[in-house]
């Protein structure tokens, strides 16, 4: 092979990678938010298998908020029963277009977190059953409101498009277009993507370096000891689960408002919630590892679209398994290594009773 041919091939490959990475990242962001939220939750000993439902509710809550804001702006821009597009665009307030969906998303996810805590911490219901029920419930409630909104908007396709508001979520950093591959790989994302990375790093810092993190880890490892040390176990469980749910909820919001360009259709979110839970195991409960791991998962999730498989759809399905297979391998490896630091919190999934005598 001649030199020029080699460099041409390498160049083409690098261009391909530069194009692939941003697509992996946007797939990874919802997973990152979901897994950061779930990691915080699990560190308190709560195994919240309701995360897929929480993320779904986070998404639909954001959509509901966005929808009503969009409707109110639309109503103000109606001239003689016809939408004045120029006025509609001018009336749209960027600040409100972001805060209304974000706040309603956080509220929806918070309510889910509170429900989970009330059932498992206060009433000491079984965590697995509660979590699975919450997932079913969350998806159901999401589809219910999704369907209602689609009906309200009178759309003729089974989805709602909040395209205008989504542009605020989608806006990339300046210079993203003018800096070539660098801009493409690092600057081309909406603000929630960067927020996700910051939240993950902050969560890792809090867990490892601060007193709150120390106490939280103690609660998840050995609540009786934490209790004896004067730490309010229930308060920590509630706080970490609710904050975790809100972070995970943002994952749902990111998915619909940024990744899907503001288009909500029922069940489009897919199995990303389960993937987020798998990611928690993959990162062995370390949110900072989650930053890169989520992008890897994102890449694996869409790998099947990039590997030519011809007409053989069976092979494509095999490639779709990639993230789960990788999680299984990590699970096996971390069990084999048997290092205490890499194990799940010791009291994960168990309710805490203060010993009564």
């Amino acid at each position: 092979m001649s030199d020029t041919g080699f460099f041409a091939a390498l160049g083409a490959f690098l261009v391909g990678v530069a194009a692939f990475i941003p697509r992996a990242v946007v797939q990874g962001v919802p997973l990152l938010l979901g897994s950061t939220g779930e990691t915080l939750t699990e560190k308190s000993g709560n195994l919240n298998l309701g995360i897929p439902g929480v993320m779904y509710v986070g998404g639909i809550s954001g959509v509901v908020g966005a929808f009503y804001y969009d409707q109110s702006v639309r109503a103000g821009a109606m001239v003689d029963g016809v939408l004045d597009t120029a006025r509609y665009a001018a009336n749209m307030n960027g600040f409100l277009a972001i805060t209304v969906p974000v706040l309603s998303c956080l509220l929806g996810a918070l309510l889910m977190g509170l429900l989970y805590c009330f059932l498992t911490v206060t009433l000491r219901a079984n965590q697995n059953v509660t979590g699975l029920a919450l997932t079913t419930f969350g998806v159901g409630i999401g589809n219910f409101f999704g369907g209602s909104l689609i009906k309200l908007s009178g759309s003729d396709v089974p989805s709602i498009a909040l395209t205008r508001i989504s542009t605020y979520f989608h806006a990339s950093l300046p210079f993203a277009d003018s800096l070539g591959w660098f801009g493409q790989v690092f600057l081309s994302y909406g603000f929630l993507a960067y927020t996700a990375v910051i939240i993950a790093l902050a969560a890792a810092y809090v867990l490892k370096r601060t007193r709150v993190g120390l106490h939280l880890r103690a609660v998840g490892e050995n609540p009786a000891t934490a209790d004896a040390a004067g730490i309010s176990v229930n308060r920590y469980k509630y706080a970490s689960t609710c904050i975790g749910s809100m972070i995970a909820g943002l994952g749902g919001l990111y998915y619909v408002m940024d990744y899907a360009s503001g288009v909500w259709s029922n069940n489009a979110f897919g199995d990303r919630g389960w993937l987020a839970i798998a990611l928690v195991i993959f990162t062995i409960w370390r949110p900072n590892v989650g930053v890169l791991a989520s992008f890897l998962f994102g890449g694996l999730y869409i790998l099947h679209m990039y590997i030519p498989t011809g007409m053989n759809l069976a092979v494509k399905e095999l490639y779709k398994m990639a993230p789960y297979v990788v999680t299984l391998i990590v699970l096996i490896l971390s069990s084999l290594r048997n290092k205490r630091e890499n194990q799940p919190p010791q009291h994960l999934g168990l309710p805490y009773f203060r010993e009564e005598r």
Binding site: T210, R211, L214, H215, A218, T225, A229, G230
Partner: protein, 509 residues
């Protein structure tokens, strides 16, 4: 006593749990620069009384004064503020965290581990502890964990320390080290209360002894003016014989022959390494060793509960015919007359079902017998009655779930059931763990009765003093290896202690 102000003065404290009166108008003074030993049988209210000082329970009646000022201790936090720190029998530590992190747990302010580590080292040097603040708790020995617990209360500024049976899990050497530390603290002017069952420790360490009996305060005396016999009589309320008899084994024949036994646990770590010994009928073979040196694996291997890597365990009939036990299932081994009573740390972990009542727990041994499809409830019922009567088990009736009984009573049921199953070989571990002196002697007596009947008894014990008096031969395990075997009569405590920590006790190698 000359005119001193007590560090703590308890006056007429009464505490009830439902119907039971745990403390009945107890008054007690604790002084600085003094070690006070608090004595009493199980259920005499020692721990309850101390728990009221450390803020875990709140007294129903009575008052507590610190340095002459009346105080209300309504939470563990308040107790610490008043300078009272309690080291519990069960350690409250998070395994995954380091010593320093555990000590910092529950405090307020900015987390600064390096600064904390520095202070921990300073305290350690002042009193003679050895500790690495960065070491993770799961890596620590029991005595190191205890050190962390003591440091935890010192770090919080406690100058009144209460230790609940601190030596129960230590080797003699570790105990000696702890006592040295406690003496240093006493000389530093701290007030120290130690709850213990072991008379020799009371005599060795304490300056004053206070005795509780059935929740009531019996009296206190200077240690120098009393004796073990005297203290025991006060505890029990009547004269008790404190001698464990050791009848000469009658016509012992080999019963269990273990040779070159090697066992690995699930993680592949060697727990028993080339262990060989013989247990004879009519003899008590004592097994000494630091907790976790392979005692559990050894007994379980004999009982057929533990997969074996190599070696053999043979059961010898009366005429000397050997039969290999490895490969047999536990039920077959049990039918051959091998009974196992293992008392784990949490007592209920093995052998009893907490939610079932006494009769049903007795049935666990016998429900398979008989041809009828309907289980026989009568025999277990009689057995339960006998155990309750013989061992003085305190229970409302035979239909009480075992979980609701106190630890000591649960244990009596377990040990009683195994002993009364009239075995050929009796394997028992930690039979008196946490039992008071009177119940312990009942158990020793039962073991001796079995021995006289010709049973081969293998007794894993924690208390070396008892082992020395009870066992005919003592096998010492150290990290899964046999580090020595001595005759009970000639055994010296310190030598066994050394063997527990190093193979051969530094003599043979």
């Amino acid at each position: 006593m000359e005119q001193r102000i007590p560090a703590v003065s308890i006056r007429n404290i009464t505490k009830r749990f439902g119907q039971t009166l745990a403390n009945d108008h107890v008054s007690l003074d604790i002084y600085r620069g003094e070690v006070l030993a608090l004595l009493g049988e199980n259920g005499s209210g020692k721990t309850t009384l101390m728990n009221m000082l450390s803020g875990i329970y709140f007294p129903d009646e009575g008052s507590i004064a610190i340095d002459g000022h009346e105080v209300v201790i309504d939470s563990p936090r308040k107790a610490i503020e008043l300078g009272i720190g309690m080291i519990h029998q069960h350690f409250k530590l998070v395994d995954l965290l380091s010593a320093a992190e555990n000590i910092e747990l529950g405090l307020k302010g900015k987390l600064d581990i390096p600064a904390a580590s520095k202070r921990i080292r300073e305290i350690s040097e002042a009193y003679g502890f050895e500790i690495d603040p960065a070491q993770k708790v799961y890596d620590m020995s029991v005595s190191q964990k205890q050190t962390v617990e003591i440091l935890k209360v010192l770090y919080r500024g406690a100058d009144i320390l209460i230790l609940d049976e601190p030596t129960a899990v230590l080797t003699p050497q570790e105990t000696e080290k702890l006592f040295q530390v406690l003496r240093n603290m006493r000389n530093d002017g701290k007030a120290i209360v130690i709850i213990t069952h072991k008379m020799n420790e009371v005599l060795e360490l304490s300056d004053r002894v206070a005795v509780l009996r059935k929740g009531e305060y019996v009296g206190d005396m200077a240690t120098a003016e009393t004796s073990a016999q005297d203290m025991t009589n006060q505890m029990v309320g009547h004269a008790v014989s404190l001698n464990i008899e050791r009848p000469q084994p009658v016509n012992p024949i080999p019963r269990i022959e273990v040779s070159h036994l090697t066992v690995r646990n699930e993680a592949g770590v060697i727990r028993l390494d080339d262990v060989s010994f013989t247990a004879r009928s009519g003899e008590i073979l004592g097994i000494a060793g630091i907790a976790g040196s392979g005692q559990k694996e050894l007994l379980e291997a004999i009982a057929g509960l533990q997969p074996v890597e190599s070696g053999s365990i043979r059961y010898l009939e009366d005429d000397g015919t050997p039969e290999e036990l490895i490969g047999k299932d536990p039920l077959e081994i049990q039918k051959m007359g091998v009974a196992l009573s293992f008392v784990p740390e949490d007592r209920l972990g093995m052998g009893l079902v907490g939610s079932m009542d006494l009769n049903e727990n007795m049935m666990l041994r016998t429900y398979r017998t008989g041809a009828s499809p309907v289980t026989d409830r009568k025999t277990p019922h009689e057995l339960a009655e006998r155990v309750v009567h013989d061992l003085d088990v305190v229970t409302p009736n035979l239909h009480t779930p075992v979980r609701n009984l106190s630890g000591g009573n649960v244990q009596k049921i377990l040990v009683g059931r195994e002993i009364t199953s009239a075995p050929k070989v009796l394997l028992t571990a930690y039979a008196v763990r946490g039992l008071d002196i009177n119940s312990s002697y009942v158990i020793y007596d039962l073991l001796n009765q079995q021995k006289k009947k010709g049973v081969a008894v293998i007794y894993v014990g924690e208390d070396l003093d008892v082992l020395l008096e009870l066992a005919d031969r003592i096998l010492v395990l150290c990290a899964g290896k046999v580090s020595g075997e001595v005759a009970g009569k000639d055994a010296v405590k310190d030598e066994i202690g050394l063997m527990m920590t190093s193979v051969g006790g530094g003599r043979h190698e």
